[in-house]
């Protein structure tokens, strides 16, 4: 009876709906590297970017832009000129968000390591020269007044504004203050960070009063004062499974230089077993992009290399760098598959963000921007830009018809996957989950934990 009463009470509290106040403690295995707008280097960076910073635009599940600091937009010149109107927003330091701040932020973004920035520079007038630092002029980016800015493109593209949703394109004030839903009250350190709700956020004050990032052992999530964290890696992970467990093979060095060897490797991993037994909450992945971003083509009728090659074996030695956010059990399983294939594999841990071309790696990949074309560009860059893929991507970018473009992207994805340089293995959720009583936590397709609308029961 007591349990029922308590359960009923809890149900009654959650049924009351969101409430303001409270503190959300998020336990993280590693600290954020920087509070500056930049390409996120890991889970902590993605969470911090979502807390502190705001971008001009976001993207919805179909990759279409949605308002953020920009409240409306309009196109002209057959889609080659876009005028963006800023919402009446304020930075954490009290300064109003103006078009000059937006231009300054975008100019910094264009020279960042972001794949989305590379895409934007390629299509923006003067963007390539500016990105290569051969010119400081940027004809494609101007302001009309304090609230409006204009982007001019060389060609008309299907998703001209999606790149502005990159976390690296966040806008900060002249003094470096962000415009996100929470204001950091302590500088980021190895022990974590504390942030308070920003009352003048562009979408209104968040429900939570305080968000605290606590750095500690991943399997504990306990603070030094004994209070348990609200969001930990030990709780059931939050759906959806947006991360891609990706095996990156080096086509330039033996034994992976052989396309057959890479195909055998790609076919050797039992993805269903991997996802079911070694990745809690995970799903087998046959395609590079999540179905929500780009539905895969129907399975090919041709037999797989596993079926044709008998006996299937690949000899040689491979040093596999495994990103620290890859679950150890999943990595051990992948290594077991490779070993069963005949390879001698040495798995060594590597930082999550240290992705370098020419090194076999096992990593968890999240798209920088949840838009299929940009995501494929990002993957193509990881794979070393296979020639047919680059051409096809540029061609697809010019297709403004949604269905035609999707079909093009599906073929590009299949082509890119067919090189077997990028081997998708499984989809896995962000390894964080909230305790009971924590509501409205959301994970984006880019792997960011959104706490803007979260609330906790008292």
């Amino acid at each position: 009876v007591l349990a029922l009463a308590l359960g009923a009470g809890r149900s009654a509290r959650s049924a009351l709906g969101p409430r303001y106040g409270g503190e959300l403690r998020i336990a993280l295995a590693e600290a954020a590297t920087s509070v500056e707008p930049s390409m996120p280097r890991g889970t902590a960076d993605r969470i911090l970017a979502g807390l502190v910073h705001e971008t001009l635009l976001g993207v919805d599940d179909d990759g279409r832009p949605r308002p953020a600091l920009v409240q409306s937009w309009a196109s002209a010149a057959d889609g080659r000129e876009w005028t963006l109107r800023l919402a009446p927003a304020t930075f954490h330091d009290g300064a109003p968000v103006g078009s000059a701040d937006a231009v300054r932020g975008l100019r910094r973004f264009l020279r960042s390591e972001s794949a989305a920035a590379a895409h934007l520079a390629r299509v923006l007038e003067g963007g390539d020269e500016y990105r290569r630092r051969s010119s400081e002029a940027l004809a494609g980016l101007t302001t009309l007044d304090d609230a409006r800015l204009v982007l001019r493109f060389r060609v008309s593209t299907a998703v001209p504004l999606a790149a502005l949703a990159s976390p690296a394109a966040a806008i900060v004030s002249g003094r470096g203050a962000g415009a996100g839903p929470f204001v950091p009250t302590t500088p980021p350190s190895g022990r974590g960070l504390r942030a308070t709700a920003f009352g003048r956020h562009v979408r209104g004050r968040p429900f939570l009063d305080v968000v605290r990032l606590i750095v500690g052992p991943a399997d504990r999530g306990a603070r030094s004062d004994g209070a348990d964290a609200d969001v930990t890696s030990t709780a059931p992970p939050l759906p959806p499974a947006t991360g891609l467990l990706l095996l990156l093979l080096d086509p330039a060095a033996p034994p992976l230089a052989s396309g057959r060897a890479r195909a055998l490797i790609a076919a050797s991993v039992d993805r269903a077993q991997l996802a079911r037994h070694f990745l809690p909450g995970g799903e087998p992945a046959e395609a590079l992009l999540a179905p929500t971003l780009l539905p895969p083509l129907p399975p090919p009728s041709a037999p797989s290399p596993r079926a044709t090659a008998s006996p299937a074996s690949v000899a040689g030695r491979v040093v596999l760098r495994v990103a620290s956010d890859v679950p150890q059990s999943a990595s051990q399983r992948v290594v077991a598959h490779l070993t069963a294939l005949g390879l001698e594999v040495q798995a060594i841990p590597a930082p999550a963000a240290a992705v370098a071309a020419g090194q076999p790696r096992l990593l968890v990949w999240y798209p920088e921007v949840a838009e299929a074309g940009l995501a494929l560009e990002e993957l193509a860059a990881l794979a070393g830009w296979p020639a047919p893929v680059r051409t096809a991507l540029e061609a697809a970018d010019a297709v403004r018809d949604f269905d035609r473009r999707r079909a093009e992207l599906q073929r590009i994805e299949e082509t890119l996957r067919g090189t077997h340089v990028l081997v998708p293995l499984a989809r896995l959720p962000l390894p964080l989950g909230g305790r009971s009583g924590v509501h409205a936590l959301r994970v984006t397709a880019s792997g960011a934990l959104v706490v803007e609308n979260a609330w906790v029961e008292p």
């Binding site: 037994h277 070694f278 069963a340 594999v345």
Partner: protein
Amino acid sequence: VSRLSEGRRGQGLRGRLLAAFVLVAVPPLLLFAVFVIALVSDRLERAARQRLGQGLDGVRARVGRLQREADAAVAAIVRDKVSATPISDDNARNAAAELGASHGLPLLEIVDGSGRVLSSRHWPAGVGLPEGDHEVAGTSDLRWETIAEDYGAAERLAVVATHRGTWSGVPVVVRGGFPLDAEVLGELSDLMGAEVALRDRARGRWVARADSPLAKAGAFDPSKGDGTVDIAGTVYRWAAAPLGASLWEVVAVPHTLLAEVTGGVRWLTLGVAALALLAALATALVLSGRIAGPVRELAARARGVGAGDLEHTAVEASDEVGELARAFASMTHELRTSRERLVQAERVAAWREMARRLAHELKNPIFPIQLSIETLRRALDQSAAQDAERFQSLFRESSDTILDELRSLRAIVEEFSQFARMPPPRLAPTDLRELVERVLALYRARAATVRIETGLAEGLPPVPADRDLLARALGNLVANALEAMPDGGTLSVKTRAVAEGVALEVSDTGPGLTEEQRTRLFTPYYTTKKGGTGLGLAIVQGIVSDHGGRIQVESAPGAGTTFTLVLPSAMGNGHVEPGGAA
């Protein structure tokens, strides 16, 4: 030179005594050192071999115990558990972990007949995949097991037991055991105080704790059984025994420890031997000093006796050398007594000779005086009978005789007086050439029948001499030469430079001297001349001796006589007046 050679002889005796001591002491000491070093080295070698053997036994014992435990546990699992557990996808995955935990087996794997892993505690990632293990050649109990580690897997050596069974009717192989890894070998190493490792020759791999020096020994062949190996500058002594066809257990201890102990003993032994040698040398020095010292002192005393020193002849010694010293002292005492008696006898003889000479010299003038006076008295008694003229004549003759003899007496007295009162020379640089010319000038008139020749060397340095005394000595020699040639002859005076200074030769062509005459020539009051006092040559010898020189004579009957005065050219101890003799 003589003294130096005597000293060397003394040192030679001592050196020979020392050498004898060393020859007697060193060989036993060296033998002792070699024996001790060999003994200690042998004992340490045995201890090292025993330690290595114990290490090998310890590894075998540990492996055997692990094998028995693994065998019992796996047999129990096969008998009681596996067959009773239904196979399903989920329980298959967890079965090995649960069974391994309940039976204390860190390694447990169930594989089907084709070698596919059905369940694994130590390699859960391999479920459904063929097992990737490798059996160590020559043994079924030792295997390289694939074990999950960090983000991948690693091969680890393990002691396993394998049993066949069925799992829900499916034939399976259950293999379980314990890792024979760095941790176990580290424990054994700590327990035995030696480095314990395993070497798989076929795979060229070491199993050892991370900091084990053996793991750094690259090309290593344990099949020799034992030996030494240099690893990073440190030499290890090792022993090995096979655990399988390709697996060897290797136990090693730093050889430097053995070498250090052996070296320490070697140095200690050599140090003791060196100290003993030094002690023997010191003893030899003392003993040889006590033996050779009195001998050297006795030799010095003998040289002193030879030089005329007959005093202080006592030498302190207690043994045979002391007996010799006492005999030598007695001999010296007797010699001293004899010399005193001889001197006394010589003195008496000299006095007698002088008395005889005095009596003889005085008797000769006294007798004429007596005769003259007796003649005068007789003449006085007969004066009455004789005439006065004859008396006067007789008186005059007698008185003349008396006066002559009195003069002769005065000359004799004067000469004795001069000999007794020989003054010390007053040395001054003297030109011998000028001196010889001056002296010869005095005698040329008296040498009417004698031809005088001179051979005076040019450029002779002045000699330190008392000009008057030396002129007197030269005058005596010249007078003697002239008197030796009453019938004529040749007097030769020469000067020449010799090693000691300047030589002055006075030669005559007279009758020469007999041997007896020559030996007594410088004896006072000895003379071969009628009316001579025998003091002339004694005076010459005294003058020459006072000048630090020497006189020698060469003569033979019928061959003339040559006197050679050798005078030193450097100033001696005599009194010197720069302005010349007074």
